[in-house]
Every structure is written in structure tokens, then in C-alpha cells.
């Protein structure tokens, strides 16, 4: 489902160092993979490469059968529609309500208004945001915004879900609610790639854990804990 083959990402101003250094990673369909690493290790760069926000300096990326080398600019939106992304900084549209933010993900793929009215409230209920439909992002707490971002990422039932620190702003209870949602959609067949700092979550999930350090994969273990 996701394949990275000796991917390197260098930034012109990084003084010669690499944000990612010959990373190779293979994620099977329906797999749940947790990527851990300290700040600056290269986790977010990895996710930005997968959403084609950035291009690798060298190496090959194939996601959902799409070879990024052969991907034309005009087809990038089609790729992004296949991937659900929960951004670390939420990236909610400030002038749209909670309902409209989630509905937007469906509108851009041409889903009918009737279906949107049917689907969005259900997803908002899953992330525990019932009653907040007409609120604007500025009126919400950090945790609530995070959950809107998750609702928006899962509403299209994507084949791949990438979540960048989705529990970063949540208290333990809500953090677990979010993880449960991710596990649930993984059970329905979505491949999940999650980055987190939360040791508790990593230890309890017992999933495949990929550790990145200084832009390199230093360990890749199945059913692993944070320090195992």
C-alpha cells in the first residue's frame, strides 16, 4: 500500500544535512503502523512526502499503486483524495463551520448534498462533536479542533489514513477516543500510519512501530512497545 525505497530529502538551506536519509519502508494494505521519533527526527517530512507536499531529493515513493515519479501535477488532487490526513496543526478552514469543514472533503469529490447531510452528522457523532456543527474553529478548544480534523480525514473512508500527532492536544480520555476511532477504521480496511510521542498509546496498541532518528529508520518491529 505504501512503499518508500531509499528516499532522501535534503533542504537547500539545511547546511548539507538530510531531513530523511535513504529511508526504506513498506506498509501492507490494512496495516496499522506507528512512526515514533524525537522532534526533528523526520516524521513530519516523511508524511509531507507521502501527501506530495514535498518531493524527495532521491528515491522512489509508491502509494496506493501510484508512482510519485510518474504523477503529473494535475493528478495530485486525485492522489490526495485517496489519502485521509490528520494534520498536526489541524488545518481547518477558518471561515467554515465544523459541519462545512467536514462536508468540504466530500464536496470536492462531488458527493450529493443529501448524502453529505446524512454522512457528516454520523462522523461528527463518532468523534464526539455532536452539537458543535455550527461552531467555527476559532470557537473550539484544541482537542475539539483535533477531532474535527479527524472527522474530516475519515469522512471519505479513505484507503490510507495518515495521522500526524493526532493526540497531541488531547487529554488521555479523548486521546484514547481518537485512537479507538483510528483502530475502528483500520478494522474496516483502511491502512493507518500514525506518528505520536505518546508512549502510553504506543505501549498499549501493540502494533508495528517504526523508529526514526536523525532521518534514518533505526528500528522497525512488529507488536512493539515504545522502548522495547
Amino acid at each position: 500500500m505504501i512503499l518508500l525505497d531509499r528516499v532522501t530529502k535534503k533542504y537547500p538551506r539545511s547546511g548539507g544535512g538530510s531531513a530523511l536519509d535513504r529511508i526504506s519502508l513498506h506498509v501492507d494494505p490494512k496495516e496499522f503502523v506507528i512512526v515514533i521519533g524525537q522532534s526533528g527526527a523526520g516524521k513530519t517530512t516523511l508524511l509531507r512526502l507521502l501527501t506530495r507536499e514535498e518531493r524527495p531529493s532521491t528515491g522512489k515513493i509508491i502509494v496506493g499503486g501510484i508512482d510519485y515519479d510518474k504523477l503529473k501535477d494535475k493528478n495530485i488532487p486525485l492522489l490526495r483524495r485517496k489519502i485521509g490526513v490528520v494534520f498536526q496543526d489541524f488545518k481547518l478552514l477558518p471561515n467554515k463551520t465544523v459541519f462545512e469543514n467536514v462536508a468540504f472533503a466530500l464536496e470536492i469529490v462531488g458527493v450529493s448534498s443529501r448524502e453529505i447531510k446524512h454522512t457528516v452528522p454520523k462522523v461528527l457523532e463518532i468523534v464526539n462533536l455532536k452539537g458543535k456543527e455550527n461552531s467555527y474553529p476559532r470557537m473550539l478548544s484544541g482537542g475539539e479542533r483535533q477531532r474535527v480534523a479527524i472527522a474530516r480525514a475519515i469522512v471519505r473512508q479513505p484507503r490510507i489514513l495518515i495521522a500526524d500527532e493526532p493526540t497531541g492536544n488531547l487529554d488521555p480520555k479523548h486521546a484514547w477516543d481518537v485512537i479507538k476511532v483510528l483502530e475502528k477504521i483500520n478494522r474496516y480496511g483502511t491502512t493507518v500510519l500514525l506518528t505520536t510521542h505518546n508512549q502510553d498509546i504506543v505501549n498499549k496498541l501493540k502494533r508495528r512501530v517504526v523508529t526514526i532518528k536523525n532521518g534514518k529508520v533505526v528500528s522497525d518491529r512488529a507488536n512493539a512497545g515504545y522502548k522495547s
Binding site: D73, L92, L93, F104, G110, R152
Partner: protein
């Protein structure tokens, strides 16, 4: 087809909703657009008024052909017919000796001494043909015709378009020509400046919302779906600004005729400007609407382009 219609409707709807929700930004952008569009409208009306003033000056200029007392009626009629056939002649009128005298007396009715002197002699004035040219700049062909020996032999004196009067008419002709050109250049320059200012204003408005464009891009929205609502919003700016600019000029005319009770302001003939505005109201409104809408649409299309690009490195 149905999906395209849904997308089209969603773009229009999003544009209108965004306009309402970003009302502060909209008012700021529209204020600038109203001012610039009003200046363009004012320059169009001023230009038309100056052209009218110039036309009324040039309309007063004509060429007098003084005939000999010995010319027969047949010769005179034949000459008039030939003059009328010249391409640059707008109108020809004929005054026989008696009519020329009546005109002269009328023009000098305050000068008793001159009138007394005229009464003591037999009518000294020649019969006259007055020629109104279409274009003062192309008067040479009329002059050439009047200079032909067979035509010159019928004249008692040089035509009025000669000597000192010729120099004066040439100066006026040249001046009106320059004024016309200045008028056209002014309108073009103002329109260009207006376009630049409106472009800049919309660019600033979109710059403020570049993150929104970036988010929509990351979610997989197509270029049309992202850009569409911005274009709709900018078209609304242009549309409303155009209507406001016309209303402002309309109010200005109402104020000038009611409060100032003035018919002219220096060189600007307010009465004519008002008439011109009334007579061409729909055309002027259309020009303003087209200008506002086109500038809004083009500016937002160009301004969003930068934020819609994908990273290539």
C-alpha cells in the same frame, strides 16, 4: 453533467457565503475599488464634456466666400452646388447682398455711427456663401477648390479663411486636436491605474487567505474548485463597486445642481456633463460593470495562481 452542475452551484454558493463572512475584508477592498472606478467614470464624463466644448467651438468656425456683385444667379447657384459636393463640407448657406447687410446691421446694432455711415451709402456688402467644414484639419481641399482660377474669378475678395484669421483658426484647430488626444490619454491612463490598484487590492485580500488555499489544496480540491469561489467573490466586489461608483457620480450631479446652482465649474460644463450622464446612463453603468467584473475576475485568477502551484523540488 449533473456533477458539474453541482460543482458549479457549490462554487457560486461558496463565493457568496465567503463574501458575507469576510465582510470586513470585502468592505476594505470595495472602498478602494469604488474610489478608482469613480475616478475612471469621472474622467470619461469629463472627456466627453471637453469634446463637446471643443465641438461647439469648432462649430462656430466657418469659411466665408465673398462674391462679386456682377456674378449672375446661375453662376452663384452652380458654385453652391459644386461646393456642396466637396467631401469635407457639412453645410452651405447663402446670403445675398440684402441678407448680408441685415446680418451686418444686426451684429453692429450698438454702433450708431457705423450704421449711419452704412445708410448713407448704397449696400457695400458682397453676397456671401458660408461653408461649414466637417473636419477643420482637412480644410485644405476646400481651400484648394476656392483657389481654382474659375472659382476665384467669381470672388470679390479672399475667402475668410486666410491671413490673420487663418492663423487663429489653425491655432484653435491644433489646440482642440491636442485636447482631444489628452482626453483620450487621460481616460486610458486612469483606467490602467485603476486596473493596477484593483489588482493589488484583490491580491492583498487573497494573500490574507493563502493558508485557506493551501489547506484546500492538501485536501485534494481541484484548481477550479479552489479558485472559483475567489473569482465569484471578486466579481461581487467589482459588481457592487461599479454600482456604487455610478451612484456617487449621480449624487455628485444632484448636489452640484441643487446646492451650487452652477452651470459650469471652470472649463467643465456641468450642465452638459449632467445631460451626458443622463443620456448615457446605461452605457456608463455597463462600462463600469464590465470594468469591475473583468478586473475582479482577472485579478483573482492571477492572484490565486501563485498559491495553487505544486512544489516541484
Amino acid at each position: 453533467m449533473k456533477r458539474r452542475l453541482i460543482t458549479f452551484w457549490r462554487i457560486i454558493h461558496a463565493g457568496i457565503v465567503n463574501f458575507i463572512r469576510n465582510v470586513t475584508l470585502a468592505v476594505a477592498a470595495m472602498a478602494v475599488m469604488v474610489v478608482t472606478l469613480t475616478i475612471v467614470l469621472f474622467s470619461i464624463i469629463t472627456n466627453a464634456t471637453f469634446i463637446n466644448t471643443i465641438a461647439s467651438i469648432t462649430n462656430k468656425i466657418d469659411i466665408s466666400v465673398f462674391l462679386k456683385d456682377t456674378d449672375t444667379t446661375a453662376q452663384t447657384q452652380q458654385l453652391i452646388t459644386r461646393i456642396k459636393k466637396l467631401p469635407n463640407v457639412k453645410a452651405v448657406s447663402y446670403f445675398d447682398k440684402a441678407a448680408a447687410l441685415r446680418q451686418y446691421v444686426l451684429q453692429n446694432k450698438g454702433n450708431q455711427q457705423l450704421l449711419a455711415a452704412i445708410n448713407e451709402t448704397s449696400n457695400p456688402l458682397p453676397a456671401t456663401i458660408l461653408i461649414k467644414p466637417i473636419d477643420l484639419n482637412k480644410i485644405q481641399d476646400i481651400k484648394n477648390f476656392l483657389g481654382n482660377p474659375d472659382v476665384a474669378s467669381l470672388q470679390s475678395d479672399q475667402p475668410s479663411y486666410s491671413g490673420d484669421r487663418k492663423a487663429a483658426i489653425d491655432k484653435i484647430t491644433h489646440a482642440t486636436d491636442v485636447l482631444r488626444q489628452i482626453g483620450v490619454i487621460t481616460v486610458v491612463v486612469f483606467t490602467f491605474i485603476c486596473a493596477l490598484i484593483i489588482f493589488n487590492t484583490i491580491q492583498m485580500a487573497i494573500f490574507n487567505r493563502r493558508e485557506e488555499i493551501n489547506i484546500m489544496r492538501l485536501l485534494g480540491a481541484s484548481t477550479t474548485y479552489i479558485r472559483g469561489p475567489f473569482i465569484v467573490e471578486s466579481v461581487i466586489y467589482g459588481l457592487l463597486s461599479a454600482v456604487f461608483s455610478v451612484l456617487i457620480i449621480n449624487s455628485a450631479f444632484l448636489a452640484s445642481s441643487n446646492a451650487l446652482q452652477a452651470s459650469s465649474l471652470g472649463l467643465l460644463d456641468i450642465n452638459y456633463a449632467n445631460q451626458y450622464f443622463d443620456a448615457h446612463f446605461w452605457q456608463l453603468l455597463t462600462i463600469q460593470l464590465v470594468l469591475g467584473i473583468v478586473l475582479g475576475a482577472v485579478s483573482s485568477t492571477i492572484a490565486t495562481r501563485r498559491y495553487l502551484k505544486f512544489k516541484t523540488k
